[in-house]
Every structure is written in structure tokens, then in C-alpha cells.
């Protein structure tokens, strides 16, 4: 049994089970459905943040713009063209990736503070641009009346789209976690910790970081796309600037050691900022304090400590030998 537990990575099975339980909780309650859709959006955002930030150590803060890219691409494709709505997903992801690479390129040899500054300035300028171009983006009112998406000839009602969201988020979660463990992920993590060594092995670290930034932006933009598909509307206020700080905190709180930590963090954010009626406005404050505490005294995050607990219960063979030998 112990061998079995150690040989296979059980996280996809466990998380799918957790997802299905969540699905059962959502049921046909419209409020729960809204929460679930928001959680799916934030999860994709957090996964998109996870790749460059946690794996590559590159912090971009233009994520609200990436979400808006994904959202507006879907809304514009659905209301202005005859193309299938899915095209908007790809357009938004591609545009976000290009933008992330351009902003990353301009600051590729500088300290991370510069990338943070330029991406935040972009997000602010982009929000202003959305408001000031009514003929293109619908201005402050945004774009409403986005039709329901059709997938394989089936119209995606709210009820039908919820399981699709689960599969999408879970699938991308599995992919990102595989990415982390694969060769590319190992090189990324090495480039974060010892860039000189990676550079000396013939890998161009700045280019590697740009790839991570682009991939992350594309994943996050999917979050914007699914949000608009579900809610059928978007405006410049849909993804306000402070969401990016929440996105930065999600992997920290959930745990950086696996991509599932980012998703757990996203769920906690939704719970703190939208679902806890009693704490109201101070939910975000409580959440931020929690993050700062995690950052200062518990840097592994929730899943990190659960992982340690798990290893206590089911030690690796090598560790067991070591303890027995000693």
C-alpha cells in the first residue's frame, strides 16, 4: 500500500474527487454556480500566475489586462463576428502571450521591480483605454448580451457549463503540475534559483523567462474568457486592478510546492472576498493579513504543510532506510 502511494502521483485523482464534491455542493443553486464560475476564473488566473512567478521567479502584474484580453476577445468575437466563440479563447490567449513577452522583453535584464512597475502601468493604461474607446470596447458600459456558447452543437447553459469549467480547470491544473515536474519545469525552477548555472549549461535564461511569462499570460486569459462565457457580459470594472494582488497571493497562501496550491488559494480568495457575508469589506483585509503571516512565518503555504504531514504518515523508501540506518 505504502509503495503504491509513493509510486503514483495521486494528486490528479484526489483533486478530481474534490472537484466532483464541489460540483455536488453547487447543484442547481444559482449563487453557488456564480461562486463556482468565479472560482474557476480565479483558478485559471492563479495557475497563469504560478508558471512565471513560482516556477521561473518572474513577477508580472498585468494579469488583469490578460483576463480582460481573454474576456473582451470572447465578447467581441461573439457579438461582432460570425466566428465560433471558441476563436475568442485562442485570440485572447495569443494576444496576452504576445503582450507578456513584449513587456518582459523590455525589462529582461533588469531587476523584477521594473517588470512589476511596467506591467502595473500597462494594466492601468489599458483600463483607461477600455473606458475611452466606446466604439470598440463599449466604453464604461462594456459589452453585454454575449450569446451562449455552442460546444459540439450543444448550447452551453449555466448548468451545462459548470462541469465543463471543472474539467478545464482540472485539466490545466494537471498540465501545469506535470510541467512543473517535467524537464522544462526543472530547468525553469533551476533558472529561478541558480540562473548562472543554467546559463552556463547553454540555456538562455532571459528567453526561458519570456516563455514562462507568455505561457502564464495565455492561461490567465482563459480565465477571462470563461468568465465572459458564463456571465455573458464584461466591462472595464469586471477585473479591477486589485485582483492582481489577490492573484499574487493565491499560490503563496495555498502553497507553492504544487500547482494545486494556486487553485486552493483561488478558492480561499473567493470564500474570503465574496462568500463571507459577515466580514464584508474587511474580507480582503483579513485575507491580506493571512498572506503576510504566511509569507513571514509559514512560507510553505497550506499544501506545503499538508505535504509534510503526508510524508510523516507515508515516508519515502529512501527516507525510511535513512532513518532505519541511523
Amino acid at each position: 500500500m505504502r509503495k503504491l502511494l509513493n509510486r503514483y502521483d495521486l494528486s490528479p485523482v484526489l483533486t478530481l474527487a474534490a472537484g466532483l464534491a464541489l460540483l455536488a455542493w453547487v447543484g442547481d443553486n444559482p449563487f453557488n454556480q456564480d461562486l463556482f464560475a468565479l472560482a474557476a476564473t480565479y483558478s485559471l488566473l492563479a495557475l497563469g500566475m504560478y508558471i512565471p512567478f513560482v516556477l521561473a521567479g518572474s513577477l508580472s502584474m498585468a494579469y488583469t489586462a490578460y483576463l480582460a484580453f481573454g474576456g473582451y476577445a470572447v465578447a467581441l468575437v461573439a457579438t461582432r463576428t460570425d466566428w465560433p466563440m471558441v476563436a475568442g479563447y485562442f485570440i485572447g490567449a495569443a494576444a496576452s502571450a504576445v503582450l507578456a513577452v513584449v513587456l518582459g522583453f523590455a525589462t529582461r535584464r533588469l531587476s523584477s521591480f521594473f517588470l512589476v512597475a511596467v506591467t502595473l502601468l500597462f494594466a492601468i493604461a489599458f483600463e483607461g483605454w477600455l473606458t475611452s474607446t466606446p466604439e470598440f470596447s463599449g466604453g464604461a458600459a462594456g459589452i453585454g448580451g454575449v450569446p451562449r456558447m455552442e460546444l459540439f452543437g450543444v448550447e452551453m447553459t449555466r448548468e451545462l457549463f459548470i462541469p465543463v469549467l471543472l474539467v478545464l480547470v482540472w485539466g490545466i491544473g494537471v498540465l501545469v503540475d506535470r510541467l512543473r515536474k517535467g524537464v522544462f519545469g526543472m530547468v525553469l525552477r533551476a533558472s529561478r534559483d541558480v540562473p548562472v548555472a543554467v546559463e552556463a549549461s547553454g540555456v538562455a535564461v532571459p528567453t526561458l523567462r519570456l516563455v514562462a511569462l507568455g505561457t502564464g499570460a495565455a492561461v490567465a486569459s482563459l480565465g477571462g474568457s470563461v468568465f465572459v462565457t458564463f456571465n455573458q457580459a464584461i466591462n472595464p470594472e469586471t477585473f479591477i486592478l486589485h485582483v492582481v494582488f489577490l492573484a499574487l497571493f493565491m499560490p503563496l497562501l495555498g502553497g507553492q510546492s504544487t500547482a494545486w496550491g494556486a487553485i486552493l488559494g483561488a478558492l480561499i480568495v473567493v470564500q474570503f472576498t465574496f462568500n463571507l457575508g459577515s466580514v464584508g469589506d474587511s474580507g480582503t483585509l483579513l485575507f491580506t493579513i493571512a498572506v503576510l503571516v504566511v509569507l513571514l512565518i509559514a512560507p510553505r503555504g497550506i499544501l506545503g504543510y499538508l505535504g509534510i504531514l503526508w510524508r510523516r504518515l507515508v515516508p519515502l523508501e529512501s527516507e525510511k532506510e535513512r532513518t532505519h540506518g541511523a
Binding site: A106, S112, F113, A117, R192, L241, F245, L296
Partner: protein, 290 residues
Amino acid sequence: MSPQLFLSIIEVGCFFSLLALSFLLVLDGAAVFNFAIGPYAMAAGLATSWLVTRLGYPVLAAALAGLAIAVVLAAVTDVAVIRPIEARLGGAELPALVAVAATLFLIEQAAGTIFGRGDFPGQPLLGFEPIALGSAAMSAPQVTLLVATVAVFALVAWWLRASRTGRMLRAVGDNKHAAQLLGLPVSRIRGIAFILSGLIAGLAGLLFAHKSGVSFTSGLQWTLWGFLALVIGGTGSVWAPLIGGMLLAAVQILSPYYFGSAAADYAILLVALLFFALRPSGLITRKVRT
């Protein structure tokens, strides 16, 4: 260009310069770009307005309280956030960045929770008749901000050059390890740099709030402006932030004047991209003869 526009540039430029100077002091003392500086300024401005409008405090007392809040926030950021992170992770850059970003957001949210999430008008510190300058006129808050900026820059320049602590701060900024080896009290100097930076940021927020009001979300934008002014000016001299601030203010005031209301944000983004990509060390860098 109308003289009134010119005065606007001076006014906004003073604000940017003070923020950039605040950045520079922490950068010298602790080698960190403290992104929580905008929120210090916001907290000082917001607390002052809140104390005056909601609790009926006299302006000067409220302003002192606002400054005290900014100073305390700066000191706490250093002692409770940045130092523990550095002690644990040995000065790695990303954790420090994340920690100051979290602090920025925390101050913002705390201010929103305590003082409310609305816009507050700034409080004029001194009330006197506008001073006529040809066809333009400088209002009392503009004069106060200008005089305060000149005084702060002169004092800091004198302090860095003439006082013992100021000279030690320059030594720490040049080479922390060498300073440590020489037995300089690096930790104390760093604390002083943070406190001074909080004081200057608080003063900036307090004196600028009358221009466009202050709300709990102002801090982020102020941080970015101050950082950008510092990057444009460079870190080579204590006067560099003043030049960077004035140039950035010219861009911010003139671009909407010529290209429409949304242009300021685009122009600032463009300036940031240009400077980051082509001249990240700024206009004024320290030349060392070798």
C-alpha cells in the same frame, strides 16, 4: 504653453520628486525599491482629511498625526516585514518584492476599512491669498508644496553631505558589506533611512492631496509615479529625483493637453518602456573615475 500649465507641472513635479527621494533613501539604506511608499503618502493624506472632516481635528494636529502614521508604517515595514524576510532568505530579490507588494496592498485595504472607501478632499495646511505671478496665480497649497519640496531637498542634501549619519548612509548605499566590515551601524542607519523616507512620503501625500483628492486606492498609482520619477532621474545624486519628478510631471500634464484625456496613462507607460529598455540607470548616474 500657458503659465498656469507650467505651474501645474511644478506642482505635480514637486510631488513626484518627493516620492522619488523617499524611494532613493530606502534604496541607499536597504537596497530595496520600497513599493509601499505610495501607500505611506496615501495613509498620511487620507488620515489627515479623515481626522479633519469626520472628527473635526484642527488641520495642523491632523497633519502631524498623518505624518506620524506614515513614519510608523515605514518603520514597521522595515522591522516586521522586510528584515525578517531578508534574514530568512538572505537578501533574495523576489521574496522582498512580494513582501513589499503585500505590504502595499495591506496598507491600502486597511485604510479602506478604517477610513472608508470614498474619495476625500485634501486639507490645505496653510490658508493665505493666492500669489499672483504675471497672468497666473499660485494657490496656497501650491506654494506650500513648492516651499516644502525645496526645503526637504536642501535639508536631505545637507544631511547626506554634512552629518555623520548622512555620510554613513551614503557609505552603506555604496557598499553594504564594506560598511559592515568597517563597523558602521548598518542596521540603525537603515532604520533611519526608512523613517526619513516615511516622513518625506507622508509629507508629499499630505501636501498633494488637495490637487485631486485622496482615496485608499491612490497609493498604488503614487508608488508607480515615484518609482518612475526615480528611474528617470537616476540615483547618482540627491537632486536626481527632482529632475526625474519634473520631467515625469511635464509628460503627465502636457500629454492630455495635446493628445486628449486618456493620453497621460499611455504617455507614462511609453516613458517607462523607453527608460526601462534603453536607459534604466536614469539620466544622472554616478561617475566613478578608475
